[in-house]
Symmetry: C2
Subunit: 340 residues, 2 copies
């Protein structure tokens, strides 16, 4: 089955993907940090049963795969994190944790991460409403079958107070090569934070941007509805899209920038050794060129390549524990084939 | 007609070309530096007549084109120097000077350069005997028809004392990317100078090496026969060929070097702006890869491209006075087409 990230969505030149993440906890149990192994196992069992049981009203549950994280190697787990299916923390400590994932990987549910249940829905391009709708359906199904920790005044209860309330984090993954090159990201970061949003590297808090990819997400969960948070994110995203698009179009008209873009493509098509960092640097330029008609290359293919060329994803696909140089050699070969 | 440099000769992986240059002066006139315009014109007329007159013994003179240098633009003249048909000095000051050149450009005769007659023969690859034979035939023909300045004890008289005697300079143009990268050129320079040879950049005295191309030539003209000088050059050239070939073969087996070579090719196939210096840097690696079977590209084509991508040669071919950036754009386009 095709994975969700093999598609290019709405506003796909700038928006790689949309994610809705809901944090939920079971009323009957302490948060995972305070749970022992037996307690965690009960949470896993409860959530699993609720999610995998056929619906009596003929609303079939999503066709999830249940994965006990302790059964995965570190490489397999990190590969899931590279695809944003799980958090890096979830990949690092796998004991007492489980993952449910839909066939196209657009819906994933981490059990016993920071909260009992971390439900996330990913969609290509800008698709906040669609993603929220899917998340909402799974959430409703769960809500019918388990007792959530919920407070009438506050909303959903979560371990970290920054999630209290809606416990929803909506985010878009933005490709901003032109604004990055113009040195605009620091300014944007200041601006969006005044609007209740935060912009950061692709792997969340504290992560560096790689390939000029940034995650823009809502910061506020308390005293705001999900709808309002999503509308705010949507509106600011549309403004950033316009800014990036116009800067990138201007770049792509200039010969020295065209030169940089085609050289990046030439390097990807020729190199025999290619680190992940260098790949991301070049593919970012190539993606801008492809989005603006300089390079005849579908963005779907670029998006897919960005996922597939991550270190652990390569090792997992090759089913080998390749060292860095071996992996750089394999990456170079895969990239050459993909861009031949 | 194909030019001589469109071929790949003997030992062509390392030896781009062979050149024999003979300096001759007419007994009846002072050296050019001491000649006025009228005197120079007489020298031009005398040499021209001697060279272009059909031979009474049915030995037809070479089919030379006679070019008065003052009729050339600076660009056209520099383009001739870039092809090594004339010296850079000859291109710079064109008044009172003329050039005779054979259809394939393998024989060229500068009139009123430093000496009255500077006859040179170029051949692809290592071909000292062939080149000397051709030079000798033209020299004999001239000798029959004009009175050379010659001293029984010293030999041919030339303006510069370093040419006295045989007045012959034999040289080979060597492509030494591996020895350059190993930092061996300074050592080689010391070694060959003890053996009566000198190694320098492709454009002679004081010129920098470009594209790892070097000119190796005999330094001694006095008290030595032409044959001995040529044999000495031949023998040392063969040793350098072995050293370069073995170093390059070793390089081409290593993945990081292969990576550099293919990246160089990728850049040449992709760039939209390409300076002459950057082109030479990359084509040098590509040539090494082509010579050692990494890249499927005939050396003839590489050799021709090295000549055709020089600045004035591009301007002359385009028949335009392109500025540096325009020319870098044209060069990039021509290189992409040639290596597509």
């Amino acid at each position: 089955m095709n994975k969700w990230y093999m598609n290019n969505g709405n506003q796909g030149d700038v928006v790689l993907s949309t994610r809705i993440r809901l944090a939920r906890n079971l009323d009957a149990y302490p948060f995972p940090a305070r749970l022992d192994s037996a307690g965690k196992q009960q949470v896993l069992d409860t959530a699993r049963k609720a999610l995998l049981t056929e619906d009596a009203d003929a609303n079939k549950s999503p066709d999830f795969t249940y994965i006990e994280m302790k059964n995965l190697t570190r490489t397999q787990a990190v590969a899931l994190a590279e695809r944003h299916l799980i958090s890096p923390e979830f990949a690092a400590a796998r004991e007492g944790r489980a993952l449910l994932v839909s066939p196209d990987e657009s819906v994933s549910i981490m059990l016993c991460e920071e909260d009992h249940i971390r439900l996330q829905v990913m969609q290509p391009g800008l698709a906040l409403a669609v993603a929220y709708d899917i998340a909402n359906k799974v959430d409703t199904l769960l809500d019918d079958r388990v007792q959530y920790a919920f407070d009438e005044r506050i909303g959903y209860l979560t371990q970290c107070p920054t999630n209290l309330g809606t416990a929803m984090r909506a985010s878009v993954m933005l490709h901003l090569p032109a604004l990055t090159q113009l040195g605009q990201i620091a300014r944007l970061s200041g601006t969006v934070s005044k609007l209740g949003l935060t912009i950061r590297g692709a792997f969340g808090e504290g992560s560096q941007s790689s390939g000029d990819i940034y995650q823009l997400s809502n910061q506020i969960t308390l005293g705001i509805t999900e709808q309002a948070a999503i509308e705010n994110l949507q509106s600011i995203t549309l403004q950033l899209i316009q800014q990036e698009r116009s800067a990138a179009a201007e770049f792509c008209r200039r010969l020295p920038e065209q030169d940089r873009i085609f050289r990046a493509l030439g390097t990807l098509q020729s190199a025999r050794l290619l680190s992940a960092a260098e790949f991301m640097r070049h593919i970012s330029l190539v993606r801008m060129g492809a989005a603006h008609g300089l390079i005849d290359l579908p963005l779907e293919k670029v998006n897919e390549l960005i996922v597939q060329m991550q270190p652990a994803t390569i090792n997992a696909a090759q089913n080998k524990d390749l060292e860095a140089e071996e992996r750089d050699c394999v990456r170079a070969e895969l990239v050459r084939e993909a861009l031949a």
